[in-house]
């Protein structure tokens, strides 16, 4: 890619409406701003959220202007769910990193029997057609162990920092979590982020 875009890190976050994708994007961007970095977040609200698939973008760096991450330009693709990761795999840059939670949330079409959910191996195989850098782990399990399935997004937040791709320190990330949630959820959220961080740190 051109030198002009070297100082912009593109992160695409994908999942199912209700999983906390938008919240993660906002906190990630707040942490970036706290590091004195320029940042843009692209969100889609409304109809797209009602249990449907959601994509959010976070762009960090001096050249980030618009909110959009085109196909083939994401440094990091964060997937909250396997099929949702696959749905946005076209976004990943050549040799970009995919961070995926393996916990399945079945689409209604699958429950109704009108279509099938692909096997995990077939999903991984398709992803490998775009990049070999895949970190695949059960983030829902880590969230529940931290105290709540609602902390799934914070597991993913810790995991993002754990990849080392994003220029945000772990301290800034944890501070952003403390400043963004009510005190009573702090312990669970911090624990979830730590769990995600540790899990990913060990594979990079």
């Amino acid at each position: 890619m051109n030198a002009n875009n070297h100082n912009t890190i593109n992160i695409a976050i994908t999942g199912v409406g209700g999983q906390g994708v938008l919240t993660l994007a906002e906190i990630l961007a707040k942490a970036a701003l706290a590091e004195q970095l320029n940042v843009r977040v692209g969100e889609i609200h409304g109809m797209a959220q009602r249990g449907g698939h959601v994509v959010c973008t976070v762009r960090i760096g001096t050249d980030a202007m618009g909110p959009i991450i085109d196909s083939g330009t994401a440094d990091l693709l964060v997937g909250f769910e396997p099929v949702e990761t696959l749905r946005e795999i076209h976004l990943i840059k050549k040799n970009g990193c995919v961070l995926m939670s393996s916990h399945v949330q079945y689409p209604v079409a699958v429950s109704m029997g009108t279509t099938e959910y692909p096997t995990h191996e077939s999903i991984l195989q398709s992803i490998r057609g775009f990049t070999k850098r895949i970190i695949d782990f059960d983030a829902m399990d880590l969230a529940q162990n931290s105290g709540s399935s609602y902390a799934l997004n914070m597991v993913m937040f810790g995991a993002i920092i754990g990849t080392g791709i994003v220029p945000i320190s772990k301290e800034s990330a944890l501070r952003a979590i403390r400043e963004s949630f009510p005190k009573k959820f702090e312990k669970i959220n911090i624990q979830a982020a730590e769990a995600g961080f540790d899990r990913v740190k060990s594979c990079v």
């Binding site: 843009r40 249990g51 196909s71 699958v110």
Partner: protein, 630 residues
């Protein structure tokens, strides 16, 4: 998520991460706006969501969630005529609702600054059309500004109020989804003190446009727009940057895509960025066209700037190639991205794109096994129960006019109870029309907020003209689709004041509907099916409209309440021994909280997603779905 208190802080120089809609809400304070009126509409909704939380804490400030956009524009318009700064906010289709006052407001003008924010939705992320509201500025002769990002959404808003006062005209402030729903670091400026009440100065020969008055106002308007054009010529909001043989004219969010594309491809070009797109700076654009042999126009939706450029080139006999939508370099459909700009530039320059998108597309389309996951009614949504009952009672054979709200999602299988939709309130009126030309039963559905916004004239039409139609009001006690705003049926105002709620049942009876009942869908699904059968029969027998109000709070409200209270309620589960794997629950309800166990083929309820409505219990023929004992 962003704390409203943060937006109220009078700390000039502070930098915070804000959504453009939050930046606009902050801009309202910094511009000293006294009155804001709006009806919520995505992608503009968060402007009102923040202002309603801020409003009670700002001295002399008034905010309201108006009944609809026409009402909002009239409320805010009157305030600006009286002499205080005001703002109205709507989504693209909302401006259509407000078109009537809009077109006259420019004739009478305003005494204090007024801004009308309209949020268009290219790609229709949450709208029924992608109309380009910029043409209203042309038709109404109202000045228009287009910010390109969240930073300009605030800075240009402050400019818009000054501009409005300079020419005594309201300013149309046109945004698009990718501006409204982008977050960026925003710097706070000082908050001025708001004026108290003003004395209304009468001037009927200006503000009452009877024909003799209007005839004097139209030439006045044209002369004001000419003055505004002169200002537009020298304004820094319309500026050029860069140098090169190639010229690019752009505005709004597309400006970012142009800049990113030029940087990535290493192309040198002169870019004319238009912040004021009506009146367009004609001399500046003409000079720009003269300087270049080829000029590309980059703008989403309609060729608005492109047409101006062609007009000016023709008027001034300039030999320039203008490349935009007319020759197919850009589409009139959907939102743009850097890729779209780069592909057009490469087509023009006969070069390869920096990324091989054709190859990525080919590989991606080769993946065939991605199951779709469209948006759908939430787990525990009361509409699911009501639509299940409507469909069961009428065996899917009635006509189901739908309306604007979450409930339009009932278009999807297996509910399939949305057959026709035009705009807000059209469920009732299309039902009137359909009942006259078919013998089929007609069961329309409308939400509570939409009922108040645009439903009442339709009810009056149905009563007075004796249309044989049934209406189910899906009263979930909120404006759910746009993010839980209050409406006249909720008893809370935009100022967070508790007031007597307007009762839908009483309204219908007051308008002359002779069959009005209220039921609670979660009480008994079988009972609900019976009620709908009875209503359909009554409408047919009496050749008159019948109304059933299905009242149950939005599942998101219920879930939030439950989380606040922190009391775990007994869960629903499928008793595996009793379940015969018939899948009736899954196939009839399509609830996102239910799935099939891949091994046993039996239904399973996901605890994390279930919102405890219990509708599935009534649907299971085996009685296999049960609730835990306390």
């Amino acid at each position: 998520m962003s704390e409203f208190h943060e937006l109220l802080e009078n700390k000039p120089g502070k930098k915070v991460l804000l959504l453009a809609n939050e930046a606009i809400a902050r801009g309202v304070l910094e511009a000293g706006v006294r009155v804001v009126a709006l009806y919520p509409g995505t992608p503009s909704s968060e402007i009102g969501d923040n202002l309603t939380l801020m409003a009670p804490h700002i001295p002399n400030f008034y905010f309201e969630f108006s009944t609809n956009e026409k009402v909002a524009l009239e409320v805010a318009g009157a305030a600006a005529v009286a002499g205080v700064r005001s703002m109205m906010v709507c989504k693209g289709p909302g401006l259509n609702v407000a078109a009537d006052p809009f077109l006259t407001l420019a004739y009478v003008g305003v005494r204090a600054g007024m801004v009308i924010v309209v949020a268009d939705d290219p790609s229709m992320w949450s709208s029924q059309n992608e109309n380009d509201s910029r043409y209203y500025a042309l038709m109404g002769n109202m000045p228009m500004m287009e910010p390109s990002d969240p930073i300009e959404a605030k800075s240009m808003l402050l400019d818009a109020f000054k501009f409005s006062e300079m020419f005594e005209l309201p300013v149309l402030f046109r945004t698009t989804t990718r501006v409204n729903h982008t977050r960026a670091p925003i710097e706070f400026e000082e908050i001025p003190v708001l004026p108290h009440k003003v004395q209304f100065q009468k001037d009927p020969l200006r503000f009452v446009p009877i024909p003799s008055v209007a005839r004097t106002r139209h030439p006045w308007l044209l002369s004001q727009i000419e003055k505004a054009r002169e200002f537009s010529e020298t304004s820094t909001l319309n500026s050029t940057e860069g140098q090169g043989e190639l010229g690019i004219i752009t505005s709004g969010v597309s400006y970012n895509y142009v800049k990113e594309s030029l940087a990535q491809m290493g192309i040198h070009a002169e870019v004319l960025k238009l912040g004021i797109t009506h009146p367009i700076p004609e001399n500046k654009v003409t000079d720009f066209l003269r300087r270049h042999r080829r000029v590309i126009t980059v703008e989403e939706l309609e060729p608005f700037i492109e047409t101006h450029a062609r007009r000016l080139a023709q008027l001034n006999s300039i030999k320039v190639e203008i490349l935009g939508k007319e020759q197919g370099y850009f589409s009139k459909v959907g939102e743009y991205s850097p890729r779209i700009v780069m592909e057009a530039l490469c087509r023009l320059q006969n070069c390869n794109t920096p990324i091989n998108w054709q190859d990525i597309d080919k590989r991606f389309h080769g993946i065939s096994d991605i199951p779709p996951r469209p948006p759908l009614l939430c787990a525990g949504c009361p509409h699911r129960a009501t639509y299940y009952a409507i469909r069961t009672a009428t065996r899917g054979k009635a006509i189901y006019p739908s309306d604007i709200g979450c409930y339009t999602l009932s278009i999807a299988p297996p509910l399939e109870t949305a057959d026709i939709l035009f705009d807000m309130g059209s469920s009732i009126t299309t039902a009137c029309g359909l009942s006259e030309v078919t013998d089929q039963d007609v069961v329309a559905t409308i939400g509570d907020s939409t009922f108040f916004a645009s439903g009442l004239p339709g009810i009056i039409d149905a009563v007075y003209n004796q249309h044989r139609m049934c209406l189910v009001v899906l009263d979930n006690r909120t404006t759910a689709m746009t993010g839980q705003q209050p409406h006249p049926g909720t008893g809370i105002t935009g100022m967070q004041k508790e007031v007597p709620a307007i009762d839908i049942e009483k309204v219908c009876k007051g308008l002359g509907v002779n069959y009005v009942k209220t039921i609670h869908p979660f009480e008994s699904i079988a009972g609900l099916v019976g009620e709908i059968r009875e209503m359909v029969k009554w409408a047919r027998d009496n050749h008159s409209p019948a109304v059933l109000i299905s009242r149950e709070p939005c599942a998101l409200l219920t879930a939030a309440d439950r989380r606040r209270q922190g009391i775990p309620l007994p869960k629903y589960y499928v008793e595996s021994e009793t379940c015969t794997a018939c899948k009736r629950c899954l196939n009839r309800l399509s609830c996102p909280a239910m799935y099939v166990d891949p091994e046993t083929e039996k239904a399973v309820i996901d605890d994390n997603l279930c919102n405890l409505c219990g509708t599935c219990v009534a649907v299971c023929p085996q009685g296999a779905i049960k609730r835990e004992e306390k």
